[in-house]
């Protein structure tokens, strides 16, 4: 035990004495949360809108007021000249334009579809406003539904009524951070011992390889728990993302995922010869799948079959799904049994492979 503890102490020395790495480890989660929370937002706010108003009556004025009051839009111009609208689109000054014809019931929406996602969202918001009842009057433009069969659809958005992007990316960032810290740092740590030659001395000692591996991993596990706490606190109090389910369950589930990441790191350390190689493999082979295939940014359901199967072996996919269930939907442990099982299986398989591949010789 003493043997093991002094090894762990040594590992902490390595981490604490490398100030740069230390800062990266502790600041990376904070930076990522703030970056995703504020800068890289997929939500749409204050998009400039231009109105081509041929109608110029009480109805169109009221509609324009509605757009002016919406947080999604800012009114750029109101004009009677169609050429000006096209000019504004070309200059990129507006994303969307409303056209009220002089007569008739229809209104037209033009939008800049160079960014299709944005265009779709804006069109939806605009349609919703136009379909809403006018203050002090009945609906001016009947919705499609009403014209079709007189059924009025009432939409309610479950779990995330304000459609906040942070509800989606907080679990994603947790999945990313844990993989980065646990896998990358562990693999680099083990490979460094080999590169500097100290592994030779350790191998020739009575120290068990399992001890070496565990002692290498322990500090990073601890640091990742600190990181989980940081991310949860930031998202709760800075980004107003609620934690609806059990915090204990969330943390336990995160630790399981961190373990999988550690095992991945150990596995990488058995493949890589140099610290740079370990870093590169962790970066490319772990980070890209987490970003691209975990459902964090791009929905997995829309991917081709082959990519969907590929995403099944990305631990982050299961972790992110589980975190969403617990944190956002507030579900209990019964609902994440499948995710837990899969992650546990991954941890066992990776550990077995790493121990088998961990060379007790050079």
């Amino acid at each position: 035990m003493n043997q093991f503890l002094s090894f762990v102490r040594k590992e902490f020395c390595h981490i604490f004495r490398d100030v740069r790495t230390m800062l990266i480890l502790l600041l990376m989660p904070i930076i990522l949360v703030i970056l995703f929370g504020y800068a890289i937002s997929t939500e749409i706010r204050r998009s400039p809108v231009a109105v081509l108003d041929h109608r110029r009556d009480d109805v169109s004025f009221k509609r324009i007021e509605q757009f002016r009051g919406s947080e999604y839009f800012t009114l750029h111009t109101t004009t009677g000249n169609p050429a000006e609208i096209h000019d504004l689109f070309r200059k990129g000054e507006i994303k969307i334009a409303l056209i009220f014809p002089a007569d008739g019931e229809e209104a037209a929406i033009l939008s800049d579809a160079t960014n299709p996602n944005e265009a779709t969202a804006l069109t939806q918001y605009a349609t919703a406003i136009l379909a809403s009842p006018l203050p002090g009057a009945g609906p001016f433009y009947p919705t499609l539904m009403q014209r079709g069969g007189g059924v009025k659809a009432e939409v309610s958005l479950l779990y995330n009524p304000q459609m906040k992007g942070s509800y989606n990316f907080v679990p994603g960032v947790m999945g990313l951070i844990l993989i980065l810290i646990c896998a990358m740092m562990t693999s680099v740590g083990v490979v460094r011992e080999r590169e500097t030659g100290s592994m030779e001395v350790l191998l020739v000692s009575p120290l068990r390889p399992a001890y070496i591996i565990l002692a290498k991993a322990a500090p990073y596990l601890l640091i990742s728990i600190v990181n989980i706490a940081t991310i949860l606190l930031l998202s709760r109090f800075l980004l107003d993302v609620p934690i609806r389910g059990s915090v204990a369950l969330l943390i336990a589930f995160s630790i399981l995922y961190a373990l999988v990441a550690l095992c991945l790191g150990l596995f990488i350390s058995t493949i890589a010869d140099t610290q740079q190689a370990a870093m590169l493999i962790s970066g490319v082979a772990l980070m890209l799948p987490v970003v691209l295939l975990s459902g964090m940014i791009f929905p997995v359901e829309n991917m081709p079959w082959i990519l969907q199967r590929l995403s099944d072996v990305v631990p982050a996919k299961w972790y992110i799904a589980g975190v969403k269930d617990v944190m956002i939907k507030g579900l209990g442990y019964e609902s994440i049994l499948r995710e837990t099982g899969i992650l546990a299986l991954m941890a066992i398989v990776l550990t077995a492979i790493s121990i088998k591949r961990f060379n007790t010789r050079l």
Partner: protein, 309 residues
């Protein structure tokens, strides 16, 4: 009991021979030197003895334990191994390094302090300095402390003096001499020929082969078959090529302040040489018969070996 017994060990990496049928033994409490340049196979042999590599053929025993079958027992603190490059933790302090390796071997620094005291007192003033900021000689002393801290029966030191300045080298060899008297068997490798004299016995290695093994003095005496002369003149640069063109010369090499000239077998008479050099325009000529050094002998063997290849 012999500390190390090596019998016909061979090892190749992907078709390149690193060791070819090497045999040697190191007695208990003996200081044994593996002497040879880079690429001679010294490190491979050390690693095989440290159970870090498996030999292709042959067998080896350390402390009576087989390196292939009993490797686990050997790793239970029977050997102290110091790899060729500095292999301690640069970001830990001197004392932290020693304490760490003590605990790895389930012992404490205090328990075995008597064994490392001689060496430790020299680095003690820097015990709170990080190992990465020590000079080359200090680093090696620290590494030696760490390799000794669990009181091993046999020390395997792979090139402890490489890149270390001459003063620290002498100090390190003095330490090895004292350790030997405490009964530790020591196998040490070095590329410096002049260090051969510090060993009880040596093995000269070149290109994966052990060219000769024995006491340094005996090897030299056996090698003194053909005559060797130390020659000096006022123009040493010109002297070298002139000596090589001397009809009776077998070989000639620069050797510090003088040139060592080996005459062809049967050409034992160097009296003609002075006159011959005078004719070539040399002045201040001295020619002295000398006895063969390890380095002379080794160079002969290397030339022979390269000619056979």
């Amino acid at each position: 009991m012999n500390s190390v017994v090596v019998q016909n060990i061979s090892k190749a990496y992907g078709g390149v021979t690193a060791l070819e049928s090497v045999s040697l033994n190191v007695g208990g409490g003996e200081l044994f030197g593996l002497i040879g340049p880079d690429g001679a196979g010294k490190t491979t042999l050390m690693r095989i003895l440290a159970t870090l590599l498996l030999p292709d053929t042959g067998s080896a025993k350390v402390c009576g334990l087989d390196v292939v079958t009993d490797w686990k027992d050997i790793r239970r603190g029977r050997i102290g191994y110091m790899p060729g490059r500095f292999s301690l933790y640069q970001d830990l302090t001197v004392e932290e390094n020693i304490r760490f390796f003590a605990s790895v071997f389930r012992t404490t620094m205090e328990k075995n302090y008597d064994l490392i005291r001689d060496i430790y007192v020299q680095i003690a003033p820097f015990r709170h300095r990080r190992a990465g900021r020590l000079s080359g000689g200090m680093k090696q002393k620290l590494a030696l402390c760490c390799a000794l801290i669990h009181r091993p029966d046999v020390l395997l030191l792979d090139e402890p003096t490489t890149g270390v300045d001459p003063v620290s080298r002498v100090e390190l060899w003095d330490m090895l001499g004292r350790l030997k008297r405490q009964g530790v068997g020591i196998l040490v490798s070095t590329p410096y020929m002049d260090e051969a004299a510090r060993c009880d016995r040596i093995a000269l290695m070149y290109s994966g082969r052990c060219l000769s093994a024995g006491e340094p003095g005996v090897i030299c005496r056996e090698a003194g078959a053909s005559a060797l002369y130390a020659v000096c003149s006022d123009n040493m640069y010109a002297l070298l090529s002139d000596l090589r063109s001397y009809p009776g010369a077998l070989s000639c090499y620069a050797f510090g302040r003088e040139h060592h000239l080996r005459l062809k077998p049967g050409e034992s008479d160097a009296s003609l040489l002075t006159g011959w050099l005078c004719d070539k325009g040399h002045s201040g000529i001295t020619v002295e018969p000398i006895s063969v050094t390890i380095e002379d002998w080794f160079m002969d063997k290397i030339v022979q070996h390269n000619e056979q290849e």
